[in-house]
């Protein structure tokens, strides 16, 4: 299994600002995923990040709002841009699949936008 860390673990931000969330994996993985979990809700996939290519975004999510970087096989960042209170959520990164198609998750970043 992979061990994943995220920074920051939580943050409180002012509307109109941006926050970059870092995700570090202890092993090389081809794919990484970013999810959003709004308060009391389930997880929704934001985008898939492959090293060396542009991220692929799910319906309802756009690159201008959630730019993603994937500079190498162990690291990715997600930026939440021009934040509004509606962006208050937990943001989780996960690894791509192992041979069982299992995904391993980071501990999440709890974002509150005032």
């Amino acid at each position: 299994s992979a061990v994943i860390s995220q920074k920051p673990s939580r943050d409180i931000c002012q509307r109109g600002t941006s926050l970059t969330i870092q995700c570090q994996v202890d092993s090389q993985v081809t794919m990484m995923f970013w999810y959003r979990q709004q308060p009391g809700q389930s997880l929704t996939l934001i985008a898939t990040a492959n090293q060396g290519s542009e991220a692929t975004y799910e319906s309802g999510f756009v690159i201008d709002k959630f730019p993603i970087s994937r500079p190498n096989l162990t690291f990715s960042t997600l930026t939440v841009s021009n934040m509004s209170p509606e962006d208050s959520s937990i943001y989780l990164c996960s690894t791509g699949r192992d041979r069982y198609n299992e995904q391993f998750f980071g501990p999440g970043t709890r974002l509150t936008v005032l």
Binding site: L45, T48, N50, I90, S94, N101, E102, R110
Partner: protein, 116 residues
Amino acid sequence: AQTVTQSQPEMSVQEAETVTLSCTYDTSESDYYLFWYKQPPSRQMILVIRQEAYKQQNATENRFSVNFQKAAKSFSLKISDSQLGDAAMYFCAYTSPLGGADGLTFGKGTHLIIQP
């Protein structure tokens, strides 16, 4: 698009009893994977159990087992001998290995309460 439905927002069970959480899904694919994840208040997503669609045998992990009914597109989780540490949100999830790039599609979750 695939969908996952969990019809029980909350379930309560006495410690040491057995509880079953329901999950149904919709897909047109024949090969896929199903998962149950547990999310305690710490927010860490923990894999409880997985099932490959091509396997007829139901998966079992210690006190956790599934009832996988492929024709009915049903994937329920049974927790035996419930313990206080089992209290958490439980999410059913789906992914397809075809194409290689899909993430997980989650249900809305079931909040499991364990009564001491």
